[in-house]
Amino acid sequence: MITAERKPMEELIQCVKPYRSILLAGCNECVTVCAAGGRKEVGVLASALKMHFMKAGQPLEIQEITLERQCDPEYVEQLVSNIDQVDAVLSMACGCGVQEIARRFHDKPVFPALNTKFMGASERQGVWAERCHGCGDCVLGSTGGICPVARCSKQLFNGPCGGSTNGKCEVDPNVDCAWQLIWDRLKALGLTERYEENLPAKDWRSAGGAGPRRIIREDLAL
């Protein structure tokens, strides 16, 4: 999923300060799962902002709404009835959701309440870790199901580097060395000979090197 974290309160206050009424829009997908921008977080942030501006003697009117998916025009359309009643939108979706609102409501200011972080998985309760860069040409089949692009600090396709120590990355002792994981997994699979196949220089066009990427599925077009 796409993970995100809420921006610091002070930054959010500065964003909405010029306005008297805002729409605080959450999303029921990834950011709900990572507890950053779902219905619950929308409620908590709305209360905190209201309290702050109340104390400052400049009451802020906040409409709360949590869309099924903020990255989907079909759901963003639901904001049509609210949008004229507010001065600005504070979106608690990932960057995709924020941009979808900006696209649909051309003359309405929209601000991100979250910092979108990465595509990752939950390691344990309250901990998420990066797993995928969306490079568009998956090599997991050659690397034992562990991604060197997203999980090696040097993005080595033929690692590990000389800094791997006790299974940890030299950059951060809390991060596993991706190539140690790959090696352990190849061993478990009885595929250690695969390690010696040199992976060639990557074609980064699929990873965004050729400009913003799109997927076009003719079979799904209406």
């Binding site: 950059v171 010696e196 220089a201």
Partner: protein, 320 residues
């Protein structure tokens, strides 16, 4: 011979080759490069010029290599994949070769996290093994990485690093095999302090016959003090300094520690001379370049071969 590289000629002659290192300055003063390099003249066969080592900004390796070349020395262009993409690297390789620089070392580079620009983006368009392959294809196929033909290909003698001490140890020989497969000509190893472990790695290297496909130069760094020994042991990732060595450095008075460090260094060289497959030494006397002549003298590695006695008719077989 694949190239005009002096290092290649010496390694091919069977003599033990010796390289050293010159870290470019943190400024634009050419005399700083010249002063450091001058100390090495006549004592080593090639001088590695580091590329923003430890991820700190320094004068570019290519520019400093040109200064060395103008002095009549044999610079070895270090190139890391951290700071430049494949276009920039290939154009620098063409430029280097145009200036007569014919030997280089392919590295991934220290992570910016360790340097003075931790906020910088790492490039890592390609990795060190892919860089080896790229330089080899430029030389042997006359092709750019993108597949187009080069008008006047650069003939680089290709080096890389190997760290026998990093984890997982069991794949360190396999990693060398990958570099050999990519086309590396010579290897300079991480600084060797744990000789037993190094010899174990070399055993694995010989078992696979890799020592006959690539020239392995043993990395040597003399320690100046017990403080340096401790720092290397505890702070430098992938460095293996045994406790006995730290103890030994700490066991002599402070003013004698530098001498002790040189002694250890000489003992290491002596023992490594007897290890089959070690074809030379890479002497990294970090900010201690003026000690190189003394170390070389006492290690019995002088005089160095000169261009006159490196002619084809004088190429000797086997070790001296």
């Amino acid at each position: 011979m694949k190239t005009e590289s002096t290092l290649e000629k010496i390694l091919a002659s069977g003599d033990l080759a010796v390289t050293s290192e010159c870290g470019p300055p943190r400024g634009a003063l050419p005399q700083k490069v010249r002063e450091k390099a001058e100390m090495l003249r006549g004592y080593v066969d090639g001088v590695n010029v580091t590329d923003n080592q430890t991820a700190m900004v320094r004068m570019s390796s290519l520019a400093a290599c040109i200064l060395l070349k103008q002095m009549g020395l044999n610079p070895i262009l270090q190139m890391v994949t951290r700071d430049r993409n494949r276009l920039a690297m290939q154009s620098d390789i063409l430029g280097a070769y145009a200036h007569g620089i014919d030997t280089m070392l392919c590295l991934s580079g220290d992570h910016p996290h360790f340097g003075d620009h931790p906020m910088a983006a790492s490039v890592h368009d390609i990795d060190s093994i892919q860089l080896i392959q790229m330089v080899k294809d430029m030389r042997d196929e006359g092709l750019f990485q993108g597949g187009e033909k080069i008008d006047g290909p650069p003939k680089m003698f290709i080096g890389a690093a190997a760290n026998p001490f990093a984890d997982p140890f069991e794949l360190r020989v396999a990693r060398l095999a990958k570099k050999v497969k990519a086309g590396v000509d010579f290897i300079q190893t991480q600084c060797i302090y744990n000789l037993d472990k190094f010899e174990k790695w070399m055993e694995g290297v010989r078992d696979r016959g890799l020592h006959e496909q690539v020239h392995i130069m043993a990395g040597i760094t003399p320690m100046k003090s017990v403080g340096m020994a401790r720092y290397m042991k505890n702070k430098v990732p992938g460095m293996d300094v045994p406790d006995e060595l730290v103890k030994r450095m700490g066991g002599v008075p402070k003013d004698k520690q530098a001498d002790e460090g040189i002694k250890i260094c000489l003992e290491t060289i002596e023992r490594l001379k007897g290890v089959e497959g070690v074809r030379g030494f890479h002497l990294m006397a970090i900010e201690w370049e003026h000690k190189v002549p003394e170390i070389m003298e006492r290690a019995g590695l002088l005089p160095r071969p000169t261009s006159e006695n490196l002619g084809a008719e004088n190429v000797r077989g086997g070790k001296p």
